[in-house]
Symmetry: C2
Subunit: 262 residues, 2 copies
């Protein structure tokens, strides 16, 4: 039977970075965050206190009257959840970039609510411009989750599991690997006793440039120009750090290829 009641009472499984940012945003928009479960109850308590919720010790403690349970735990932990303890008709969604929606198909109503962003414990961010990718098992649940997304973001769209996993893959490159590049820059400077602050304006502008341009069109540097003189010098300066040398060579090859073939 179709339940057209709007989402109001929400439970969370998980209390990490994603859950904390999402619960906070939804709470601020007037949703009632009723219950929070986490394998580590202390973590559930900390988040529960922030959003006026109750922390529970087992997922069998979820009220039958909840409109939605949002699961924000690691992919492998989702697969291990025992849904027999959850009321079959409650709409349940996960927030994972790479997990197929169908892992939740033991429920009658299920979907995905994936915020495409990197979250920190250090800062609660404004979700207004964050893309939220929605998927659901039927039109009614899709409508509910789209509406929920639109209450916290202007950038909500329906994306299927296949496309979502491609987005997640691309996100690893532009976020995790990019941050690793920042960390390598920091390490290189540390060894020479140079302040990382000197690189911060460059990091900012590099990101800023692609806000309106295609990355391929704004590439700069020795690899683009195939300036082997500078590149050899740089590789020498990396001394005996094999990983950094290999990254340097591989990235330079990719930059050179991409900009000369296409």
């Amino acid at each position: 039977m179709e339940n057209s009641k709007k989402i109001q009472n929400i439970g969370f499984i998980g209390s990490g970075k994603v859950a904390t940012n999402m619960a906070t945003a939804l709470y601020k928009q007037g949703f009632s965050i009723s219950q929070i479960y986490s394998p580590t109850n202390k973590h559930a308590q900390i988040l529960a206190e922030k959003v006026g919720a109750e922390s529970i010790l087992s997922i069998s403690d979820f009220q039958k009257s909840l409109d939605l349970i949002i699961i924000s735990i690691s992919d492998s932990a989702v697969s291990q959840l025992d849904f027999s303890n959850i009321e079959k008709s409650i709409l349940v969604c996960h927030t994972s970039g790479s997990l197929n929606m169908n892992v939740l198909n033991s429920q009658t109503n299920y979907g995905v609510f994936y915020p495409l962003q990197t979250f920190s414990n250090q800062r609660i961010i404004n979700l207004t411009n964050i893309p939220i990718c929605i998927e659901a098992n039927d039109r009614n649940n899709l409508k509910k989750l789209l509406e929920l997304g639109k209450s916290i973001s202007n950038n909500v769209s329906e994306i299927d599991s296949q496309k979502r996993s491609i987005l997640h893959l691309a996100a690893v490159f532009v976020c995790n690997f990019t941050n690793a590049m920042y960390a390598i820059g920091e390490e290189i400077l540390e060894e020479a006793n140079i302040d990382f602050d000197l690189l911060r304006p460059l990091i900012e502008e590099t990101a800023h440039k692609v806000a309106h341009h295609s990355p391929k069109k704004v590439q700069t540097g020795p690899a683009l120009r195939n300036d082997t003189l500078i590149m050899d010098k740089h590789i020498n300066n990396l001394k005996d750090n094999k990983d950094f040398k290999e990254i340097y060579k591989l990235m330079s090859t990719i930059i050179h290829k991409e900009n000369n073939v296409k």
Copy 2:
């Protein structure tokens, strides 16, 4: 003999991205950009018109009365310049991150004026917060170049050739290689017909995070958690793109090592 006259009349060798951004900033601060030489005279003319300068056809046409000549051309082109055509006493500096100051030592007065930033033809940027790294052959020239730097930026410091080359190396990682990561993200989405706009808020936040934190401390993602399930899926999704697969594996290894050893 020491010439303590402040810098006022400036000539440029080069009219590319760096020269254009620097000449524009200096011009706006009231310096007189007198003459511009470029191997391609048409390019010199375009910049000359923007900053009220004269474009010249040969570096032997530089006026003897210039206070400074800024060289902004490729490293290899700097080494090929014939300085016998330039008045010996004119202060000459280059803007390269990796070229030793001493390549200019056929002059009596020389130095380095290196803006640590990525420049585009598409946008003239505000240099106020851009680090400018200064080096000079003596205290007098150092003072002059520091002063010149401070007229366009609040972030000017004395950095020797060795430290500058380390900075330049780190800059390649946080700027060129980071932009290449953006380009890979774009390419992955293109192939699946997904709009790159979806990644832009993530790129912005990833850069924003390290404005106040150490990159190592804000790393996220499957490699950090050593989530081999997701990583294997991602590598499969990269299909037959060998370069991207290799980058994916190498960056994941580095992220995992960095965050577990240190």
